[in-house]
């Protein structure tokens, strides 16, 4: 049975520690754009931890919300691409084929979550920082749109390993870098087609909601809302 990769994000566990953000940079050769470009809003973070304040001092609270590509089943970014650079993979991911991309940036406009990032210039790494680059992930040159891939290269290698060992993939075996690193285990990754997998279980949770679900994009990422503490919940 084909996989359908999905993620569950437990907002009650997320502490806003940004471990996922750096894990993603390290895994996916995301270039650092520098201060000037960052000021222009051209920094690239495939996953970001959104921070929303609630209330005013002294009664302030904050909501942290990690946002990455939601890998929509009904993705607005896919149909608008004139060259099939953004396309739907058989495992339900919103794939992005970098060298099909001609840089219309249409997909980025269409994306309701603003999780697509554009290479405004050719990325450069001051030697020897380039030695860190991950050979599994291709570099993106100027004019190319890039985005979270659910670390498709990690999924792939897990699948190959499983095939060599002549077994099925274990639940949670392929884990994107962000999920692997997340200290409070706020991020859970797995196969939504397997009803027993942890991610399916969480996706069914009562706390589960889809980000901007009302838009009908049918994301494969489920957000578990934060609980409020009340005296008698023990």
């Amino acid at each position: 049975m084909a996989h359908r990769w999905g993620m569950a994000v437990d907002l009650d566990r997320c502490t806003g520690c940004e471990a996922c953000v750096v894990a993603c940079r390290a895994e996916n050769n995301i270039p650092s754009v520098g201060e000037d470009q960052a000021q222009k809003g051209r920094a690239i973070h495939w996953i970001r931890v959104e921070r929303y304040y609630e209330g005013e001092f002294p009664d302030v609270r904050v909501k942290f919300q990690p946002v990455l590509c939601q890998q929509c089943n009904n993705a607005p970014c896919e149909p608008v691409c004139p060259t099939y650079a953004s396309y739907h993979t058989d495992e339900g991911l919103n794939g992005q084929v970098y060298n099909r991309c001609i840089g219309t940036r249409y997909c980025a406009n269409a994306c309701s979550y603003t999780v697509r990032f554009f290479n405004f210039f050719n990325p450069a790494w001051d030697k020897p920082l380039h030695l860190q680059l991950n050979p599994d992930v291709s570099l993106r040159q100027v004019g190319i749109m890039e985005k979270c891939t659910f670390c498709v290269q990690r999924i792939k290698s897990a699948e190959i390993r499983a095939k060599e060992e002549k077994r099925e993939l274990r639940d949670g075996e392929p884990a994107p870098a962000c999920v692997q690193s997340c200290p409070p285990r706020a991020l859970v990754f797995g196969d939504l087609n397997d009803p027993e997998s942890e991610v399916s279980r969480l996706a069914r949770s009562r706390r589960g909601v889809k980000l901007l679900g009302e838009l009908g994009t049918q994301p494969n990422v489920t957000y578990l809302q934060r609980n409020e503490w009340n005296d008698n919940n023990t």
Partner: protein, 751 residues
């Protein structure tokens, strides 16, 4: 089989593809990745240890073959070697169980940093000019040795000084042995991340001069006084893992978390209830809670070392009735009542203190008060409470006490006689108040040797730089002091060959010792650090009580495989029986430098999520990581409440001058809802003069304007007790990653 070979090939091609591309990615073969065509490479994973903060997490390093330009016996060339590609947590390590924080993962960039010191350097210009010329290891070591022998010949051994961040494990042993054998005073610790006040308090309260650990996973109620325990404090990864369990790990049982601080930290942002008392009154608030619990007999009255330290405890803390506490702290009496009841109703409950509350003049009292509260809650050494990490048999307990605090030595003027200063992994010039005049003091020292990998503000003053390997290139040994309830010894072999002409600091020290000869050579018989480590692990072979004990070679390789040794059975930490001076403390209002009239704001520097005390500001990943709350990248900022900003008629992106009695700094203004009206907060870490291309000349350093206030009893820097004034001087531009502050903005906020 064929498949494997195929994969291996693809690794190499893949690697070279990426490498050749580094300069001009336009010319790289950008692989089509319809993921069906994707061929991942096969990596080897090697254990290592994270050395960036005192937590001491275990690492797994992803190593892939690649071509690197390296220097081998003086010649530059390209070789195929294993290259570290990514750092992840060691899944079996009892501190971080496979998880890793943002900073730990960025540690990878230290190894590949373009501005690393690539070979020994000798100062060629005047001090501080930063002009050095490369020299060979032989001559540089010979120079150090001659200098040291000179000292010995003039019996001035005690005028050799060694300053470093908190060292642990065999590195610490090595330094200690070296210094004592040489006849020099014990090493001085300079480590802004260290909490000497808390360790002192714990020594007094619990006879344990260590950082505490917390069993958050099983607790029912957490109240934290200023401790950023999910971000940067103590053992953040371990605490975050536990936090996740505390929130959602136990179906139907979600503990409450209350944070008490003046400026909302990343940790406070996760609290169910956030309370901002007056600065420096946290201890009073803790005792207020204790008062209620005692008065209403919500818990059996406790009477032990910890409580006896608090004046009036046995009388039920008459001084700390909610009303009196309200007057002291500004926290409503009913609220204190309520919290006390909640706490007692949701045991096990635990109180944590760290960071700013300890950095007031009454910091020790605050710590002792919280310790007492913990005792009253019965959380000490109990599941869901506070405990101390057991130490492995190989370690001599309380090794901290053998060091002296750099600050106290400095302020006591004991540094003046120093002839030779060895500098390792510490940057006091950067992270101390300007009024301490550390730069000037060091300038007076005739000969300074730095083991630094980067020419930072302090290494700039060095006459000789003997660059250390990067952690990934070195033998590592560490003994976590907190974050786990198992005795742990982390140990790792180098994950990759050195890129540059550098040497591990322990090996250099051994080399020096051997060349000096005499006592030093006798005290340090080992050929190299690896031998020393192997020897040090021997006692652990039998520690597990397995008999017959495993064969030494097997044990040694097993330890290396799993990244260290840890006893699977949970132990209680052994209390060290250190005689304590009797002291009884009561609440004394915190002292502040500067008149409230002219300096209306409390200045609260805080440990930055990205750079800690500034030791990571040179990593581009950290610079470009948006700070969780401010979402600022590549910069520093001054945080202030919107209402206060209105009063001062300043707004976001104004360049403001923050002035204390001891200096001023300029930084862009950030308006943040999560901060008290009378507080101005600022992250540490930026404002480096010299720390590689990514950090130098960027932002401002809050430490420079701090007043030389000291914490009572301990003498360490009270870095939260400076008052400042704020005024607009111009315009600036913050690189923010976020747009809106609020999820459902009202019409007004959209403008």
């Amino acid at each position: 089989m064929e498949r494997r070979d195929f994969l291996k090939v693809s690794v190499l091609t893949g690697a070279t593809a990426a490498l050749s591309g580094c300069e001009k990615p336009a010319h790289t073969l950008v692989r089509f990745i319809p993921e069906e065509d994707l061929i991942p490479s096969v990596a080897t994973w090697k254990p290592s240890v994270c050395t960036l903060c005192p937590a001491g997490c275990g690492l797994m390093v992803r190593v892939l073959p690649g071509e690197a330009e390296v220097v081998r016996n003086g010649k530059l060339g390209t070789i195929q070697m294993g290259l570290a590609k990514k750092l992840e947590g060691n899944p079996n390590h009892p501190v971080n169980w496979g998880k890793l924080c943002a900073r730990g993962q960025a540690g990878l960039q230290i190894t590949y940093h373009p501005d690393r010191v690539r070979s020994p350097l000798k100062r060629s210009g005047p001090r501080g000019s930063g002009s050095f010329q490369p020299v060979t290891w032989e001559e540089s070591i010979r120079e150090v040795v001659s200098k040291l022998q000179e000292l010995q010949s003039q019996n001035q051994s005690e005028s050799l000084r060694f300053v470093s961040a908190c060292l642990r494990g065999q590195r610490h042993e090595l330094v200690r042995k070296f210094l004592s054998a040489f006849g020099a005073p014990a090493a001085m610790v300079f480590d802004p991340l260290d909490e000497p006040v808390l360790r002192q308090a714990n020594l007094l309260s619990f006879g344990q001069a260590d950082m505490p650990s917390f069993d958050l996973a099983h607790t029912g109620y957490v109240i934290s006084f200023g401790a950023d325990f999910l971000g940067t404090w103590n053992s953040p990864v371990a605490q975050s893992i536990a936090y996740g369990e505390m929130r959602q790990g136990r179906p139907g049982n979600r503990a409450k978390f209350v944070q008490v601080e003046q400026r909302m930290s990343q940790t406070g942002a996760n609290a169910d209830e956030w309370i901002a008392p007056r600065a420096g009154t946290e201890g009073a608030m803790a005792l207020g809670l204790a008062h209620v619990i005692l008065k209403e007999k919500l818990r059996p009255a406790a009477d032990n070392k910890a409580t006896r330290l608090i004046a009036g405890w046995s009388q039920g803390l008459a001084e700390y009735s909610p009303e009196q506490v309200e007057r002291k702290t500004g926290v409503p009496a009913q609220r204190i009542q309520r919290l006390a009841h909640e706490m007692a109703a949701h045991l096990p409950a635990v109180a944590i203190i760290g960071g700013l509350p300890l950095a007031h003049t009454n910091g020790l009292f605050n710590a002792l008060a919280v310790n007492a509260l913990n005792t009253l809650l019965g959380s000490v050494g109990m599941p869901g409470g506070l405990f101390f990490t057991p130490q492995p048999p190989s370690e001599n307990a309380g090794s901290w006490s053998s060091e002296s605090d750099f600050a106290s030595v400095l302020l006591a003027g004991k540094l003046d006689g120093t002839k030779v200063l060895l500098l390792h992994n510490a940057n006091p010039v950067f992270a101390t108040p300007a009024v301490w005049k550390v730069r000037e003091t060091l300038d007076r020292i005739p000969f300074i040797v730095s083991f630094g990998s980067f020419v930072d503000e302090t290494s700039q003053l060095a006459d000789l730089i003997l660059p250390d390997h990067s952690p990934l290139e070195s033998w590592l040994h560490d003994v976590p002091k907190s974050g786990t309830n198992q005795a742990v010894v982390s140990l790792a072999a180098p994950a990759m060959l050195p890129l540059h002409d550098t040497r591990a600091m322990p090996d250099t020290l051994l080399e020096i010792a051997h060349q000096i000869g005499g006592e030093a050579a006798k005290a340090l018989p080992w050929e190299n650090f690896q031998e020393m480590l192997q020897a040090s692990m021997a006692p652990l072979r039998t520690a597990d009580g397995i008999n017959p004990p495993p064969d030494p070679e097997k044990f040694w390789s097993k330890v290396q495989e799993q990244g260290g040794w840890w006893s699977d059975k949970v132990r209680q930490a052994a209390r060290s029986a250190i005689p304590q001076k009797q002291l009884v403390t009561e609440f004394a209002p915190p002292q502040f430098d500067g008149e409230e009239s002219s300096f209306p704001f409390h200045f609260q520097p805080y440990v930055s999520q990205a750079f800690l005390d500034g030791s990571l500001a040179h990593l581009p990943w950290m610079q470009e990581m948006p700070d969780a709350l401010s979402t600022v990248m590549w910069g520093t900022w001054v945080e202030i409440n919107p209402k206060t900003a209105q009063k001062l008629a300043i707004e976001q992106d104004d360049l403001v001058e923050v002035r204390s009695q001891h200096g001023k700094l300029l930084a862009p203004l950030l308006v943040s809802p999560g901060i008290a009206f009378d507080v101005v907060a600022m992250p540490m870490g930026q404002g480096h003069e010299s720390f590689g291309r990514y950090a130098s000349g960027r932002g401002a350093n809050p430490m420079t304007i701090l007043a030389p206030m000291q914490v009572a009893e301990t003498g360490s820097l009270a870095w939260a007790s400076t008052r400042v004034q704020v005024s607009k001087v111009g315009k600036a531009k913050l690189a923010l990653f976020s747009g809106g502050l609020f999820e459902r903005p009202s019409e007004l906020q959209q403008r």
